[in-house]
């Protein structure tokens, strides 16, 4: 039998998704017998040329993690798209934009300014900023162009399947990969390795009355490990987020941050969470309502921690 040809690549990401694959541990060995990894820059030295050399459509399935934040990310995404029969957005960044997409609350100029000029540890008297091209003695040097707006993978290429998670949890990953090996697949566009119901559905915490009298942040309290965090005043994205992760954050007494992304029918994860949360505000008067709303620090960062690029507005007003 011919082995399934698999490629892995990372775009703008922390690399956690690569680790998620290592998490398979010994399963990797069995995997190696079934599949044939043709491209995986994170662990083996590949050049663009190696990828370019692969005939179009020769790869069975390519897993791309990371958001699209620069021209290289986009170039490789397109290249892999051409070379692969199936393209999978792997991990929250590829699916939703992820943490890198929080850059959409600012702009390239601001990011450059703080990274290359303002930060106290920076020593850059000429205020030199990254140039895409530079004439050096060796010839023209180029680095990728940094984008103003971070995109999800499917905002630059056609994507067949989505595997959310920051990172996707181990057992889900192996399940997903074997799904591809066995070729038993749902219709195009499906989300794999995640539940269609919200995290609340699998959450073991006890819910009593759906009311929030005040908002507290995790560092301000040691939450009761038995009770629903939302009812303790901690903003937990669980109600608006796909389950399937095994609620590991909640087991660690930490609220869900929303990395598994919006629910199947929800138009916008952040908007939905905002509505759900404020709906159960325990406030009647104009003042109390305002007070509660004000106590939600950084709504965008809270409700769109992983989903900004995938959201309705996608970024702050340019």
């Amino acid at each position: 039998m011919t082995k399934t040809k698999i490629a892995f690549n990372w775009a703008s990401s922390c690399g956690g998704c690569e680790i998620a694959i290592f998490e398979l541990g010994t399963k990797l060995i069995d995997l190696a017998n079934k599949v044939d990894i043709v491209f995986w820059p994170a662990i083996l030295d590949y050049k663009y040329s190696d990828l370019e050399a692969i005939p179009d459509g020769a790869i069975d399935v390519a897993f791309v993690n990371g958001a699209i934040q620069n021209s290289e990310n986009e170039h490789l995404a397109k290249l892999l798209r051409a070379k692969s029969k199936l393209l999978v957005a792997f991990g929250s960044c590829a699916c939703l934009g992820g943490i890198p997409a929080l850059a959409n609350t600012t702009s390239r100029d601001q990011i450059f300014a703080s990274s290359y000029i303002e930060t106290s540890t920076t020593d850059n008297p000429e205020k030199t900023l990254p140039q895409t091209k530079l004439q050096a003695r060796e010839g023209e040097l180029t680095i990728p162009e940094f984008y103003n707006t971070v995109k999800t993978l499917d905002q630059v290429v056609d994507v067949d399947y989505y595997v959310p998670g920051c990172p996707p949890v181990g057992e889900q990953v192996s399940k997903v990969i074997s799904q591809f090996v066995e070729g038993v697949l749902p219709p195009k566009g499906a989300v794999l390795g995640a539940s269609d119901k919200s995290l609340c559905h699998e959450c073991k915490r006890v819910r009593t009355d759906r009311k929030i009298a005040k908002i507290i942040r995790t560092y301000q309290t040691l939450p009761d490990p038995q009770k629903c965090l939302l009812e303790q005043g901690i903003i937990c994205m669980g109600p608006a987020t796909r389950g399937g992760c095994g609620s590991i954050c909640l087991d660690a007494n930490m609220p869900c941050r929303g990395c598994y992304g919006p629910l199947p029918k929800a138009i916008d994860q952040g908007g939905k969470m905002l509505s759900a949360l404020s709906s159960i505000f325990d406030a009647q008067s104009e003042e109390d309502i305002q007070r509660l709303a004000d106590s939600v620090v950084d709504p965008v960062g809270t409700f769109y921690r992983f989903g900004l690029a995938r959201s309705l507005l996608r970024r702050t007003k340019p």
């Binding site: 609350t105 702009s107 984008y147 103003n148 707006t149 995109k151 929800a266 138009i267 916008d268 952040g270 908007g271 939905k272 905002l274 509505s275 949360l277 404020s278 709906s279 505000f281 406030a283 009647q284 104009e286 309502i289 305002q290 509660l292 709303a293 004000d294 939600v296 950084d298 709504p299 965008v300 409700f303 959201s311 309705l312 507005l313 996608r314 970024r315 702050t316 007003k317 340019p318």
Partner: protein, 146 residues
């Protein structure tokens, strides 16, 4: 980027509660009170029906403003749907501030069934505010800075 088009006519989506504000708008009609035609209304049973997501969607689709109008607090036909609308709206406002969307563009107003004049005033005021802010044109804006 976005050049201000001359004689720009704001496009405003209005969610009106059936019992107070929609009736108020009708009263403006029966009283023949004139106001600008920039708000097209969607009749909902209660301002509490208006999901903030729909507001975001309207803006993303290209609306220059969104008006939500309901009964005055205490007068809600469904006891306190308008209070729930207010809870959502206040938090939404805070988030829209972060997105850089001017407060004049998204408004929650109380208009009772007897306040035709007030409805006309609200529409006039909002249309003028949004007009002076210029088009929002969200999609184009975002793509312009890709």
């Amino acid at each position: 980027m976005i050049q201000l088009e001359t004689n720009f006519e704001p496009k405003i989506v209005g969610f009106l509660c059936r019992w107070c504000s929609y009736a108020g708008a009708d009263l403006a009609g029966t009283s023949r009170i004139k106001y600008p035609p920039n708000v097209n209304t969607i009749r909902v049973n209660c301002s509490g029906r208006v999901d903030p997501t729909l507001v975001l969607k309207a803006l993303a689709l290209g609306a220059d403003g969104v008006l939500i109008a309901g009964c005055h607090p205490g007068d809600c036909h469904y006891t306190n749907g308008n209070v729930k609308a207010l809870r959502r709206f206040r938090l939404l406002q805070k988030m829209l501030d972060q997105f850089g969307i001017e407060r004049e563009r998204v408004r929650l107003e109380w208009v009772s069934a007897s306040e035709g004049e007030r409805y006309a005033r609200v529409v006039r005021g909002m249309t003028e505010d949004v007009r002076s802010l210029g088009p929002l044109n969200w999609k184009a804006r975002v793509e312009a800075v890709a």
